[in-house]
């Protein structure tokens, strides 16, 4: 039977080169093309029965053209030669609506990547996972959670998913390249009934580029059940100022927000409280933050950036001192410097700064020792937005555990934690050795000496 072919980098690259030629022929001074092709399989099992089986493939092409220093960006999912030629003409025409901005010109030829590292992002074994296996594994993981304790009474389900993708990029500044990657993930979310009529949900998850690196699904289910049960009896605490310990799951959001205000785009737009702070202390001396796109099998690894520049390890914060902003070509030019190779490029928009594998380097402390405080809050997860990058004001909803005498005394919900971001990062006085490498934003447990907890 006629089946859709699996994503292939060479095919993507041929389309990218074809489109680049059309754009230049249509009169563009310069052009960049990104092509993405991917397939997904998602299976959700709930209370032992399949609830959703989703399987499909999708591909799209994005084009950016520069004509007389004016830029336009378009995208399509129609790969017919006639459609692509039409799009090339329309995009060049569209650029006439923009106004000249030489800062937006393509990177210089000398900046482009020459050799692409092999980052080992593809696992054939991921492709072998079929619907039947995904259902079997999801059932097994969910069943482990449901059997663990009679107080686990319900389930939001267990989701097993895999994605397979290929990506190509071509630029008239002198680059063409492609790569492919796989990812597989599993999450279980049990529900317990609490005494006051409330329900408590919790979850645990695993994710990896290689099938062999995925945690066993029963282990995931059991840990999900443990985490959910631990929330039974959650309550508020009295408003106070105490040390706050972030789990790696909760800390990830805080680290991601730091990356947002360290991005060249936010800085030149005067939308970061860190503007003009390069070379100064912005965090505790314990803090070193790196963006490393070159980790083999890393969830956020990439062999070249969204403008065809070589990727490289960037140290953003070294022992508390802000070393560099992460820049794409545009923001680098605005700030009078060179790109750090940190551009990413979606199909639907132009290049922008994004992190790859953003890592808060772990310390040497046993994470349990971070909890050795008289009174404090251990945060397991955060809720809501509540970060203003311009001022650094930070306030989010939090769940976790109340600590007294170094011990977790009871679970906490419906409180907020707040601080100015500058105080938060400078106030880090403990760093765990438990780096969590499951996601592309990675941190260990860490402790902030003092934050405001608002409750009753």
């Amino acid at each position: 039977m006629d089946k859709r072919p699996q994503p292939d980098p060479q095919t993507c690259q041929r389309f990218a080169e074809e489109m680049l030629a059309y754009a230049l022929r249509a009169g563009a001074d310069g052009a960049e093309v990104v092509v993405r092709d991917g397939t997904e399989l998602e299976v959700k099992v709930r209370l032992g029965e399949p609830e959703l089986v989703k399987e499909a493939g999708s591909r799209a092409l994005g084009l950016r053209v520069i004509k007389d220093h004016r830029a336009a960006v378009t995208y399509t999912s129609d790969f017919g030669a006639a459609a692509l030629q039409d799009l090339a003409r329309q995009t060049v025409e569209l650029a006439g609506l923009a106004e000249p901005e030489p800062t937006g010109d393509l990177p210089g030829r000398e900046e482009m990547a020459r050799e692409l590292p092999d980052l080992d992002l593809w696992d054939d074994a991921v492709l072998e996972i079929d619907v039947a296996e995904a259902i079997r594994r999801a059932k097994r993981g969910e069943a482990a959670a449901l059997k663990f304790d009679p107080r686990v009474t319900n389930s939001e389900g267990a989701i097993f998913g895999r994605v397979v993708g290929a990506s190509a990029f071509a630029s008239s500044a002198g680059f063409v390249g492609s790569y492919r990657g796989t990812n597989v993930s599993f999450v279980v979310e049990p529900v317990c009934d609490d005494a006051d009529g409330k329900k408590r949900n919790g979850y645990h998850w695993t994710s990896a580029r290689f099938r062999s690196a995925l945690l066993d699904e029963e282990e995931v289910g059991l840990e999900a059940a443990r985490r959910t049960l631990a929330k039974l009896g959650s309550r508020k605490v009295t408003t106070c100022e105490v040390p706050v310990i972030f789990s790696p799951d909760a800390g990830r959001g805080i680290l991601g927000q730091l990356a947002g205000v360290s991005s060249g785009g936010a800085v030149w737009r005067k939308s970061s409280y860190l503007a003009q702070r390069e070379g100064t202390a912005v965090a505790s001396p314990l803090v070193t933050v790196v963006d490393d796109p070159l980790i083999r099998r890393g969830p956020g690894s990439r062999p070249f950036d969204g403008e065809g520049l070589p990727t490289r390890v960037n140290i953003v914060v070294a022992e508390g001192v802000l070393r560099t902003f992460l820049c794409d070509v545009f923001s680098a030019r605005k700030l009078g410097r060179k790109s750090t190779g940190s551009a990413s490029r979606g199909v639907g928009g132009g290049p922008h700064v994004s992190t790859s594998n953003l890592i808060l380097r772990p310390g040497t402390t046993d994470p349990r020792d971070l909890e050795k405080v008289d009174r404090g809050l251990y945060v397991t997860d955060l809720m809501g937005f509540g970060f203003n990058g311009v001022t650094g004001d930070y306030s989010q909803g939090a769940n976790g555990f109340w600590i007294e005498g170094g011990e977790r005394i009871f679970p906490v919900s419906e409180v907020t934690i707040s601080a100015n971001f500058d105080d938060l990062w400078k106030g880090i006085d403990g760093l765990g050795r438990d780096l969590d490498t499951r996601s592309s934003t990675q941190c260990p447990s860490f402790r902030v000496a003092k934050m405001t907890v608002a409750g009753t």
Binding site: A56, K198, K270, G397, A419
Partner: protein
């Protein structure tokens, strides 16, 4: 966070015009050939454009088109789903077969007699904004930029953007229903940054609706209005004070505060969570879940509102659904699967982000009905509290009902008067508890004109929110100033 795409010809002349009942019938037969008990097809053609204006010039112009088919097959409560953006026979048949895998037995479905149903028209549009010359839109952005800069010398940076979308959808189901809709959207947004003696602050204003260019001629919706409002907010919050921490009386201003209803009750009343008994409102129908002052409605029929839908993404007409009446829970928001479970009819709330997504029960425009109190009396009644005016968003935990929302403009209330502006802060509460503490409801109902986008299970859909001025006797304010 708005994903924009863009432009299309009239309803039956675009790519979807070539899809007829005969093609649909063949696909539905394939979809059900493995023994599914229901199937539907969702064809989507979406065109969009974006304009970004910064540093006094148009920086980029973007445009794109998305076309695709999603096939869904149900077997009991289980869903099989597949999609394709290539509308060739082979790919559409492959998607239908793949979605059908959810069923394991072999069936020989009978032929489907497909009938085209008429749908209401809650957002009449004479002309898609996409058919208007791009230069007209650039002119709007320039006006917004100038108004923001002219507002105050402390404004040091302005960014204005406009996006537009025209989406055509066609839903065909194996119970023989065929519906078509076209769904316009225009959005304008302005972000201004103010600077004063080393202090810096940002302000945003924007609006979106299912209209064409006429949106910008409406009262309060000109580019100048939004430019000035973004600038006003940035300047007003420049010297904001530390917000208090702890439980306080809070007055929610009209319009945007409707985010309270969206988070505190809206999500919890989506029928899927109640069917699965994972919502804290499970089995509460007919019971008191809010103060008797509260009547909450989800209304997909408001003229040209961002969250309105003529027909939902399962082919059911948009409706006005009362969820809570005088504090009593009277209904959930239903999609097809949940309606069957509850033995009721779909309520026009089955929505999806795109052809790549299965439908879920979702909100449209979620509102708190007006009450009796004069808004100024509500503020006057507070000795010490917080007045909340503008928000950036919120989130809820469906299971336990805890929700947060984030304030970007708020003021301290002292002795019945607004005093110091407060730094960005979150409010946190528990849905049912907070709604029982609603002690005053104003007569000044307002629909927010903001660009609200709701996320659930990784799917984003446009929604509306609205409320009159409301007083909450106690809710936790998450500031930095304890005591």
């Amino acid at each position: 966070m708005i994903e924009s795409s863009l432009v299309a010809p009239a309803l039956t002349s675009g790519p979807l015009g070539q899809i007829d009942a005969a093609i649909a019938e063949k696909l539905l037969a394939t979809a059900l050939s493995s023994g599914g008990d229901y199937a539907d097809l969702y064809f989507e053609h979406r065109s969009g454009a974006d304009y970004v204006f910064e540093e006094g010039r148009v920086r980029t112009v973007g445009r794109g088109v998305v076309l695709g088919l999603g096939v869904r097959v149900l077997r009991g409560d289980a869903t099989g789903y597949a999609y394709t953006e290539e509308l060739s026979d082979a790919r559409m048949q492959e998607a239908a077969r793949t979605a059908g895998q959810i069923a394991a037995s072999v069936a020989t479905p009978g032929p489907v007699a497909i009938q085209t149903l008429s749908v209401p028209d809650f957002y009449p549009v004479l002309q898609s904004s996409l058919d208007v010359p791009g230069a007209d839109k650039v002119a709007l952005l320039r006006r917004a930029d100038q108004a923001a800069r002219a507002f105050d010398p402390r404004i040091v940076r302005v960014e204005a953007s406009l996006s537009e979308e025209w989406r055509e959808v066609m839903v065909v189901s194996s119970d023989g229903r065929l519906t078509r809709d076209r769904q316009p959207m225009v959005r304008l947004g302005v972000h201004a940054v103010a600077e004063d003696g080393g202090k810096r602050q940002g302000g945003r204003s924007g609006a979106a609706s299912r209209r064409g260019m006429e949106q910008f001629q409406r009262a309060g919706q000109s580019p100048e209005d939004h430019g000035r409002e973004a600038a006003r907010l940035a300047v007003a919050m420049l010297h904001a004070h530390e917000a208090p921490a702890g439980p306080m009386e809070v007055v929610l201003g009209p319009g945007e505060s409707g985010i309270l209803l969206h988070e505190a009750v809206g999500h919890g009343l989506e029928a899927d969570f109640n069917r699965k008994k994972t919502s804290n409102y499970t089995d509460q129908l007919g019971k008191r879940v809010a103060s008797e002052l509260c009547t909450v409605v989800d209304d997909g029929t408001l003229t040209s509102a961002r969250g309105s839908i003529n027909v939902d993404d399962e082919g059911f007409a948009g409706r006005r659904n009362v969820l809570i009446e005088d504090g009593i829970l009277v209904g959930y928001m239903q999609d097809r699967i949940s309606a069957r479970h509850f033995g009721t009819v779909p309520s026009g709330n089955g929505r999806r982000e795109s052809f790549r997504h299965e439908p879920l029960p979702r909100m449209t425009n979620t509102l708190l009905a007006a009450g009796q109190d004069a808004p100024e009396d509500i503020v006057r009644s507070v000795k010490r509290g917080v007045y909340a005016k503008r928000f950036s968003g919120g989130q809820v935990n469906i299971s336990n009902g805890d929700f947060v929302f984030s304030l970007t403009e708020s003021y301290l209330i002292e002795d019945g008067k607004l005093t110091a502006p407060l730094r960005d802060v979150n409010l946190i509460g528990n849905g049912p508890e907070v709604l029982r503490k609603v002690t005053m409801v104003g007569s000044d109902f307002q629909l927010s004109d903001g660009t609200w986008t709701c996320g659930k299970d990784g799917q984003s859909v446009p929604v509306g929110i609205g409320t009159p001025t409301v007083k909450i006797a106690e809710i936790t304010v998450g500031g930095t100033r304890a005591g």
